[in-house]
Symmetry: C2
Subunit: 341 residues, 2 copies
């Protein structure tokens, strides 16, 4: 009966959106949102800690509710929707993935840094053994040149991923950069291509439309923008825009608008917006976890934290290299002393 979908949406408010509320989702909230998403005919609903299965920790933020209970709840109310989980190898384990599959998760999205696809084959293989649809999720995609990204995407394809995503974790990609990335991947890959945008530079929608123009058919959205940084491509708005463009998502626009207004908006303490920290993160192209370190170093050396972040972005510093922040701050302070001398 249903017309085939031109674009297949994965709703991430119950995973990426978890960042926006400090991982404090209740069972009732996840049940209500999942039920409404299912009724609106959204095909995939991602449910996990913001940093993926096993993310609940002092380092990443402790979840109010056990994520397996949340996954179970989403599965229990989904008549047509499939529940997806995110897994970062090293954060989540094979055991977590088995448990998620046992309780009914049907899609595994295996996420690595854009240059580290080679840590994902075991998890992708296990997901396939478990009968799950698999997605390779290349995070911080702005940090690799196009050729490197394509190479990593092909690795994930070779491991058996059904779809490979360009993930703009820092909301740092400009539209032309999305265009060249998706175009190159479309030429080199045979699997589905996906795009996951963040709105730190107010470009989530622009980048999503460019990705679609270039052949991406799997798109992530987040109702009411609920996500890390400045949030994601706003799903209900995306549905409206794609309808205006004549592209079918199979998702009911009015139901999504009502869900956004009546169920999701009240969950947020304050609306998502592009504030200073998320803007700097997108402009510099750095991890959000660098912000606090940079602010501390800036105070110590009496410089502007933004100068540190921009320099870290230029040097393509990655998570785990936080000790470089002090070095960079010290160099900037020295340089500025010379200029001002």
């Amino acid at each position: 009966m249903t017309k085939s979908r031109d674009i297949t949406i994965t709703e991430v408010a119950l995973r990426d959106g978890s960042h926006a509320i400090g991982h404090q989702y209740t069972l009732e909230q996840v049940t209500a949102v999942s039920k409404a998403l299912d009724e609106a005919n959204v095909p995939y609903i991602e449910v996990s800690h913001g940093d993926g299965l096993g993310g609940s920790s002092q380092q990443f933020g402790t979840s109010l509710t056990d994520e397996m209970k949340l996954i179970e709840a989403a599965v229990s109310v989904s008549k047509q929707a499939k529940v997806a989980v995110l897994l970062l190898p090293g954060v989540g384990t094979m055991k977590d993935l088995r448990q998620a599959a046992d309780i009914g998760a049907k899609m595994a999205r295996v996420a690595t840094h854009v240059t580290e696809a080679d840590v994902s084959p075991q998890h992708i293989n296990l997901a396939k053994e478990l009968g799950m649809e698999t997605v390779g999720f290349l995070m911080m995609s702005h940090m690799a040149p196009v050729a490197k990204l394509v190479e990593q995407a092909k690795l994930m394809e070779s491991y058996g991923a059904d779809t490979v995503y360009v993930v703009d974790s820092a909301g740092a990609l400009l539209p032309y950069e999305v265009r060249e990335r998706i175009r190159a991947m479309r030429q080199e890959l045979t699997v589905n291509i996906g795009f996951h945008g963040h709105n730190n530079l107010s470009l989530a929608m622009a980048n999503t439309l460019v990705a679609i123009e270039e052949g991406a058919t799997r798109i992530d959205g987040s109702i009411r923008c609920l996500g890390a940084g400045a949030g994601n491509t706003q799903t209900e708005v995306l549905i409206a825009v794609l309808e205006r463009m004549g592209l079918n998502t199979g998702v009911d626009l009015y139901k999504m608008m009502d869900l956004a207004e009546n169920i999701v908006a009240p969950i947020l303490k304050k609306p998502q917006e592009i504030a200073k920290d998320s803007l700097v993160m997108g402009y510099a192209g750095v991890y959000s976890s660098f912000l606090l370190h940079a602010q501390r170093a800036a105070k110590q050396f009496d410089i502007d934290s933004r100068d540190i972040l921009i320099e870290l972005g230029k040097r393509k510093v990655v998570g785990g290299q936080e000790d470089m922040i002090i070095d960079v701050a010290s160099e900037i302070a020295k340089r500025q002393k010379i200029v001002n001398a």
Copy 2:
């Protein structure tokens, strides 16, 4: 000393943003924002009631502070910036414009519905006589086909406008629609071309970048998105994006970020976001003033107000034709009865 600007920004938070706070700007707020904008080297600061000079009224919303006092305050703290005023012939008068010029406004933006440029020549002429830079501002630009828009823009050019703007009042234009409009205008006009975007479909930034690609050099932005509907292209984010693209606005990014965070954000009761009403407005392409009428008619006929608004958009109903709303509602109700019978 200053490198010439590739893109010339007009900040509209103190005019369009007035809608977002119910026209309740205080003298202190306008003074503080204008001073910071001037220090950040923003070239034009628009100050007026949200509906332009003379807009303060029961119909459009009563201003807390006399707009002439606000204009005076902005002028008094602007060392390099020029203060602009908006004027809708029929709302604002020639007398208002003289008064604004007398107290130091240097730019007049004369705004008409996209098909009614012919009501603007007297005001454009007067502005020129007063020594003001003049802008023709074609509102609800999505409602006219490209050829009609170009014809109207050429009228404004012939009256002496130094710049003609495509104004996406309802936030309804899609990127390809902006592209064809600006491209056609660039081919047919010799004056500057401007773009004023709204974010109802999360496309303000996308549309602005497309406009720039096609030759628009005058761009409106609003700090922290402060504007009617879902707000405008967010200025401080736009500055960041244009810097990343190598385009010079002459505006200091850090100062704009600080202004947004420390002065503008505290003015707002809650952050701007894309909520149900503004999304419907952008999707349907209708005036915000239709929303309440449609909601009332929907209740009366027991139908969905969104169906009414979408039909009004299709019929290109304009302000002043509010009596059509009941007719449309009645027709939809009849049609739905037949379908459900």
